[in-house]
Symmetry: C2
């Protein structure tokens, strides 16, 4: 089969008519499908049912050090929860503070803390004329939303197969003192699914920031979220906390993680890990904000999972559920689009997303056409700062929630929208070229 670009106008118009007919039929079916958010499915949250009954009596409520988890106290979180989250993040418990149910909230609080108090004694960011953040793209919309909300200037950094373009990162970080941070999802990156290579992590650790209060925001949201058949084959991410220490920059990175996609997305526990200096600086703010986070939920997690092995066993079950959905999306995309030259995508080895790149200038229109027929996709541009994808090409597909039959329909409809918009685009371009 010829790609759409190779087809004549006549052939394209014929193809358009056929695809349009399918689109109309699907639209008439009154579908209600959603592939917009990276959240676990019901089946996945069902997996942690055992956690609901792991604490039943008053006697069950004490941490290993005797702390009554029902009462006030222990700002850093109970020791066994710090250990578990440390193991999940690959860092020692001493470097960990366990907070509430949201790692995003910790990131927000850390930016707010930098804004209000400054980082480790440096000038508060609110007092600076300009604060800049580097934003690898495509990236996580909620990261960019936080920095946009604070009025931080966001600079896009293209992603390649090994992570962000490190030449660019070095250029900005090492020369511009207004660059105070970079957002990273280093493993099974949201949405492209890439894991940063050893070389990339080493280059991060070797940065020589122009700003002493520059920090890497290392959001390791998918640290154990492999989708490979054999989880042992999952990607390895180099330990950046040690790498930074070895490179002489022990305070350059904050790590974040949560059990949102391990236990319950709305009722997990979240943590930050960093150097002793950074953790103490964080606590110097936190002690004004809260007496202690919910230790009962920390204890529930530790009692249920017991240790990292317990978490890994759970992740295997998640992977089995997720893998079926990812494979389905891939096969329906292949069936619908292979040979048309209308888009590229990855089948990631982990994480929650498939990143789709349409022909330039088509993404918004595809998302809008899908919506018209009852399929909600993540807003086009969402994976870019200021919602501006200069190529108007990237679409984040989140295949975790829909059930098999729905997902099949949703992706099929998606391919139909891609085709319609692509043909329109190609015909338009030809028309314009003739002028």
């Amino acid at each position: 089969m010829a790609t759409y670009h190779e087809m004549t106008n006549e052939e394209l118009l014929k193809e358009f008519a056929e695809v349009q007919a399918k689109y109309s039929r699907m639209k008439d079916a009154g579908l209600k499908l959603d592939m917009s958010r990276g959240k676990p499915s019901s089946k996945q949250v069902d997996l942690s049912e055992g956690m609901l009954s792991v604490i039943q009596t008053n006697d069950d409520c004490f941490a290993s050090d005797g702390t009554d988890c029902r009462n006030y106290g222990v700002l850093k979180g109970i020791p066994e929860a710090r250990k578990l989250m440390g193991d999940i993040m690959g860092v020692p418990a001493d470097n960990v503070v366990v907070c509430g149910n949201s790692s995003l909230a910790i990131m927000y609080d850390m930016i707010a803390h930098s804004w209000i108090d400054g980082v480790c004694g440096h000038k508060p960011w609110s007092k600076l004329d300009k604060v800049k953040f580097l934003c690898p793209v495509p990236g996580y919309d909620r990261h960019f939303a936080i920095t946009e909300h604070f009025g931080v200037e966001m600079i896009t950094i293209p992603m390649n197969d090994e992570g962000p373009d490190m030449d660019l990162v070095e250029k900005y970080v090492n020369n511009d003192p207004a660059v105070k941070g970079i957002w990273c999802v280093p493993k099974y990156s949201n949405p492209s699914g890439i894991t940063y290579s050893v070389a990339t992590v080493r280059r991060f650790a070797a940065l020589e920031p122009a700003a002493a209060d520059f920090r890497i925001f290392w959001d390791n949201a998918y640290c154990l979220h492999d989708l490979t058949d054999d989880l042992e084959e999952g990607d390895d991410l180099m330990d950046i906390l040690s790498a930074c220490k070895e490179a002489g920059h022990p305070d350059m990175v904050y790590l974040f993680a949560s059990t949102s996609k391990i236990s319950f997305a709305g009722g997990g526990i979240a943590a930050i890990a960093s150097s002793e200096t950074n953790i103490n600086n964080f606590l110097s703010m936190l002690k004004y904000k809260i007496i202690s986070y919910d230790k009962m939920n920390m204890l529930r997690h530790v009692r249920y999972f017991k240790n990292l092995d317990g978490v890994r066993r759970q992740m295997k079950k998640h992977a089995e559920i997720m893998r079926a959905n990812f494979n389905l999306v891939d096969s329906v995309l292949k069936k619908g689009l292979d040979g048309t030259g209308t888009g590229t995508w990855n089948l990631p080895r982990g994480g929650y997303f498939i990143s789709f790149n349409s022909l330039p200038g088509c993404a918004r229109e595809i998302v809008s056409k899908a919506k018209e027929a009852g399929l909600i996709l993540t807003e086009a541009g969402a994976t870019f700062p200021y919602h501006h994808d200069p190529e108007d090409s990237n679409i984040r597909i989140a295949p975790s929630v829909p059930m098999y039959e729905d997902l099949k329909k949703a992706v099929k409809l998606f391919t139909i929208c891609v085709k319609l918009v692509s043909i329109d685009k190609i015909l338009d371009e030809r028309k314009n070229a003739e002028k």
Copy 2:
């Protein structure tokens, strides 16, 4: 018996020797007692054991509107939790957002939001030359710690039997545009136990602030925390949200409350209530910070307490436990100090504290002497901004945690310290007067 002030030097020295002997004996006993923090006792957190097992299976995890509480979503909290917290606070559910386990954290976040973003479109407080807060004294140390942390200038307002001195409050609020807020614990005030009168609440509602972004921080931490024999006899607090609305200032107040001293101090739920405008303004920040708070814990609370009546039944049990401790403190204080003229205190009708006022200039020394003998008290001055009690007289006694025998010893030791320091003070004053 003569008061200490009426005694001759000789009599005082004789009394001192007797009391000093008792002090030495108690010090030698190697006591380890703590009356420093307002936290529930083990017995009290034991009361909510039933909550631990109220959600057991996956099917139990759905809110009344079908929301899966295990998953992401519902920024404001589930409807039934908003209803319950609204009932506890005496406001409609529509005005309520339920957050995490700490009302202090909501207050902190609200100050941070005002600092970073500004209140409802007004200039961010971080951009102002000066921000001032009114601080009724004695008051809650953690309130003052937050505003001190933000560099807010704190102005003390004396408390009287009906609440803060409203003449002063009106003078500052209605004339100084730098005054942006006031901290209030309107019912069973921390530490003095006073409930604001109807006249006081009406005067609050009738304030005509010089600053359009002035807000009352109404921390109703002890809204249901009566200690009266018949709880129906507990204090009534006028509904300030309605009062402000009626007075034409619907947006002037934020209300805060939590179940920290109802269910679990470390694992409760907390809420903010305010006008629709203020709530929307709060949410306009919150949506960047978090996807949703822990709905599982909200559901656990609603399932366990069912409704306000359920909460009231629990508060009755709390009161029975607490009342014994409060009565004991009162009787030991009376036995030790009555007639000496060395201090005054209240037996409050609710709340968590007994506020003790020593002779001027004695509080720090009393706390330090107690510590030397193994009794931890709240730091003297803690109930004042900047830890500065100009009279050096107020000591906050928190009698909830120690068990009966320990509490008896602790208060006895306290009275001994009060006597020793008071005699020292009186003798010193006489000596200085002679010079």
